[in-house]
Symmetry: C2
Subunit: 765 residues, 2 copies
Amino acid sequence: MNDLTTTAAMNLREREFKIVGTRPPRPDGVDKVTGRARFGADLFLPNMLVGKVLRSPHAHARIKSIDASKALALPGVKAIVTCADFGDLPSEFIPAGEMMVNYRDMTRNIMAREKALYVGHAVAAVAATTDAIAAQALALIKVDYEVLPHVIDVEAAMAPGAPLLHENMYTIGVEPKPAQPSNVAKRVEFALGDIAAGFAKADVVIEREFNTAPVHQGYIEPHACLASVSEDGQAELWCTTQGQFIVRSFCAKLLGMEHAKLRVTATEIGGGFGGKTVVYLEPLALALSRKCKQPVKMTMTRAEVFEATGPTSGAKVWVKIGATREGKITAADALLKYQAGAFQGSPVGPGAMCAFAPYDLENVRVIGFDVVSNRPKVAAYRAPGAPISEYAVESVIDELAKKLNIDPIELRLKNAAKEGTKAAYGPKFGPVGLVQTLEAARAHAHYQAPLKANQGRGVASGFWFNIGGETCATLNLAEDGSVTLIAGTPDIGGPRASLAMMGAEALGIPYDKVRPSIGDTSSLGFTFLTGGSRVTFSSGMAVIEAARNMIAQLRERAAKLWELPLDQVIWEGGCARSASGSAGGEKKMTLAELAAAAGKTGGPIVANAAINAQGAGPGFATHVVDVEVDRETGAVKILRYTAIQDAGKAVHPAYVEGQMHGGAVQGIGWALNEEYIYNAKGQLENAGFLDYRTPVASDVPMIDTVIVEVPNPRHPYGVRGVGETPIVPPMAAIANAVANALGLRMTQLPMSPPRVLEAIERAAG
Amino acid sequence: MNDLTTTAAMNLREREFKIVGTRPPRPDGVDKVTGRARFGADLFLPNMLVGKVLRSPHAHARIKSIDASKALALPGVKAIVTCADFGDLPSEFIPAGEMMVNYRDMTRNIMAREKALYVGHAVAAVAATTDAIAAQALALIKVDYEVLPHVIDVEAAMAPGAPLLHENMYTIGVEPKPAQPSNVAKRVEFALGDIAAGFAKADVVIEREFNTAPVHQGYIEPHACLASVSEDGQAELWCTTQGQFIVRSFCAKLLGMEHAKLRVTATEIGGGFGGKTVVYLEPLALALSRKCKQPVKMTMTRAEVFEATGPTSGAKVWVKIGATREGKITAADALLKYQAGAFQGSPVGPGAMCAFAPYDLENVRVIGFDVVSNRPKVAAYRAPGAPISEYAVESVIDELAKKLNIDPIELRLKNAAKEGTKAAYGPKFGPVGLVQTLEAARAHAHYQAPLKANQGRGVASGFWFNIGGETCATLNLAEDGSVTLIAGTPDIGGPRASLAMMGAEALGIPYDKVRPSIGDTSSLGFTFLTGGSRVTFSSGMAVIEAARNMIAQLRERAAKLWELPLDQVIWEGGCARSASGSAGGEKKMTLAELAAAAGKTGGPIVANAAINAQGAGPGFATHVVDVEVDRETGAVKILRYTAIQDAGKAVHPAYVEGQMHGGAVQGIGWALNEEYIYNAKGQLENAGFLDYRTPVASDVPMIDTVIVEVPNPRHPYGVRGVGETPIVPPMAAIANAVANALGLRMTQLPMSPPRVLEAIERAAG
């Protein structure tokens, strides 16, 4: 267990870092650039079968029957599973780490039960000896569908008389309980003060409605896994995931297995961004392998990734903000309608939490709706929900600045959240760095650089609360004084390096003496996933705690060897030393010497920590972007981009910058090009990277970064999560830049060339 | 660290077992019988190369030069290594766990340096894209040898003027230091009392000389490994071994690597019996992979296993025992000359320790010599050294019984070691079970059964001291209350099952709630190998300590939830309960409930133990065997076999019986058939299972077993090691039976048909 008071106190004594803040090479770097690293699809077992999924061609259809007999008779077909191979589960929310999971929905999302709810919804899965036989088998499975009317758009889904996806779903969070089922799963509200009174005090009020398209995380590596279930029910699963423990929780529940009987190994992962915090193929591969007792490997095509895995919500967001002439915001109101996809669970909750969080407001309200429609269920995508609501808010703030003739950074500074600010969603902030990012933006050369015709500059801030949660780490001291470190959080953004750095820093030894690895679910205790911007914070906290635990043991061993009381042995610079004035004169032993003596001083030296990390420091960022709009084509070119963010303490600054680069680039895609295009049948028409346009290198400039460090007092090294925040500001920053370039406000994402052209033409009259 | 006082005290409170002593299925059983388990040769990596070893055709030869240029030029050859790829290391003894290792010798044994010292000695190794190319490359390597005179036999090697294997080797343990180098590496001596005075009191003295042949462990799975070294020096190694941590220590030292940079995984293992406690291919595969940066897989053929890996010593043993008319032994003396193979390190030390250990003797002396000759270096083989010396001693005891006309069990009982006996090698025994095994043997129906002509019955006892040592174990509590257990001792005789049983017993939960696995070197702290009969004892002790640590945490969590002082929460039957009379009435939470609440009570629940296990209880056995000798062919048939052994506490009795069966069968082979046959050139002529005859099913009867339980007070559950002891009595028991059948004493092993025939014919005239 983690003593945060102690942790915070120790914080002050460790401000002088030797390793934290440097930029050493990553331990997994060579393996990744040489192709040696094993990703989800890189695993092979003897007798391995190929698993493939039969997917619904209909956006909404009742499944009347499934006849797999012909497929099963095909030589080489070893197993077929349908929903009949999974027990039904009640609709209740069960915790899995920091998540609340509805297994009734999850079992239906991984395998359609009564109905297929989107094109691409899994209906059956086949395991066969070859890819070709598996494909042939899929074609032989006869599914009798009753096609139903479908609904794609969020507002159409909310409208009375819309086709209902779930006949028993009644909106949660409204009083009285609705008499009729609907596609609205949930209503959330966060409020502070008196919203009407606040608007009454305003000199200026701006009110706007925005639309955002669903966008996919766009990870380069499609979902892939390999499952092997033995006759006695013990199972192994390798998969590309952000959380091997979450996968174990999910699959154990979906398959009715005991957790300890399922060993899940996270392979190397080619991107996740939130999209690999859920299961798709994993329970199917396990169910297939359980049936035929051979290993089953499954991989998705890119089209399957687009059609059947979660993007983030598209949404409609209404925002209204009032302010005094001097620029003091008096009231802020927002209404969020987020697509959940086929099952409840859009990120409207965090979207509502974050919407106005960058501001210190007396009167504020956010209402949100979680709305199902016939699309793949959404999944987390970097700062889930926040980019959507904050895009709308930061667009209105920009308009407000224009209307008040106040510099947009100045307006933000007048209202910025700071230490002591009470956020609408509950907490009172400790030290936070929004003001520092705004001041750094104002002071940056970029903000003063001249612009030409058709060019515009935009600025926007962003917020993400960051999370902690259950986390384990282990340090094992080898006989030569080198150390193996095990963490449970898959390495996406470089935690092998940053955790090894923190471990080495805490122990006082060189970085390269610590070899980090990511353990499977048998190797350490439950560890929540890589996401929420929690890894460097929580796994770092666990590693530092384990290191301090190891130092305590090392001091004990030295005290034993020197026959000194424990309090006369100190740890300094990677060595045990006798305190000055202690009996027997000055003594010193290095970590390596103590390691060599471990056997005779009591046995191997191992230290671990199992914590529920609290005190994740909120993250703020401010981005500045210059664009140029081609008035003939409607194309928006990003000319210059500067991202400024508070990292608390940047453990490995290059990886913090990498997160800032990545967030900005994904935000550019979200702002300008990415969207899902559905036809009238509810089929996705651009399920591939040729037609779903993510930014390529030529679309983005070199991105400048400025790291601000306002230490998080609740982490021993001051760390805040940095992965989510940088995707929050780009859409508003770019929309504000486009507005400045064109002199007109666009309220729909993406601002793709046809839409920009249309807006220009509409404005022209 | 392990508090043995506490452990011993707790022992008494846990005598009522629910799981320990039962016979549940082994967790690895299904995988092993279905072929799913991955053994040393079952691993594959992309771009994997095949490694092969060029071996010396000469028993003794100076290596003048090695020219690999032609081989290296062969397309498909990626790397070649010779001794030049390994740094030379000084001749000093360095601890690796409980072993003392001479790396000067080890680096020369894995790759010949100045000289090739036996036929089959590795001289170079090649990595190539295919097996055929690797074989072709070996043929292209030109080694210029200067052939030297060689010596195979131990006494020939000790003789003045014998060819010297190591020009700088001077016998250790003799005063003054010898002026001349010799093939005698070491002299050891253990003694108690006054040997001459003891013999002076004897009424009867028997003195005999015995010869034993070297015998191979005969594990079914040949050595195999897969190594992958990255450009930045990080390495992974999978291999069939009895100790992944020892392999890491050895390879790190041989290759000059940091321990933490080398991750070693023990694959499933198809037998070891001591023979997989050393490295052969592993450092070669790592060196090859380090050179070409591709994974390299190496496997031995059976011929390579025989020619280049360690059997146990052949030996010459002289024994003299004197006793009074009443059967009280007054003095015992022995001289052991053990073959070490090409490098020092025969098991003459433990052979000397064990020789007379079954007896409570006032006057005793054992002198032993460790002698090198041009054979593969010996490796550990079950109770290393003890079967050889005890074979000789137990043969003489039998002859003494005959001469004194005392029943051989009765004679042993008169002199048996018991609690308080001071052994010649040092310790005073605590509670030991020799008397109990002798009494059980005497009471067994087998001992009274009638015999026919040409049949004989033999009895012999055996001793092994057993060991403990550095050991780690981890228990991780999953969210549903199931538990993963990690141990560091490869599973040969069933520790997955026995450790899970002890963990479940200590936690008070069902056996199948604990899923055990064997961790790699990154997963836990240094753990000494599977051997010495230490696993059930030491890893069991660590698991029990970890479980008690987990219970302490579980009580704390419950106390927190119930707002009770810790001392009012007890752990009983897998549940936390409020102590009777505690505030708030009776409360109870199961392990699963506490697991589900772990997040909110402080985080995941993980417990580990890292101990240097002390207090291994010595193991005694008595075997009874009936044989029939075919006087025409000399064939000895084993008619009936009963093995009786003190297990302290048999955690999983079926596996204890398995050890007893296995030891008896290996002893039958050693007694009757197994031997190394060298020709005049020093070449092994029977390097295969067709010509090196281990027992097959038709050679052995069903073996009866009787487990005696004299609890080891220094283990919480009373456990003693059981793996080594059962190979000690068979050779003497069978020799004694043959002597009884034939009326003549054979003093050479194996008692193969030609030798028995020769003995019969010699006796006849």
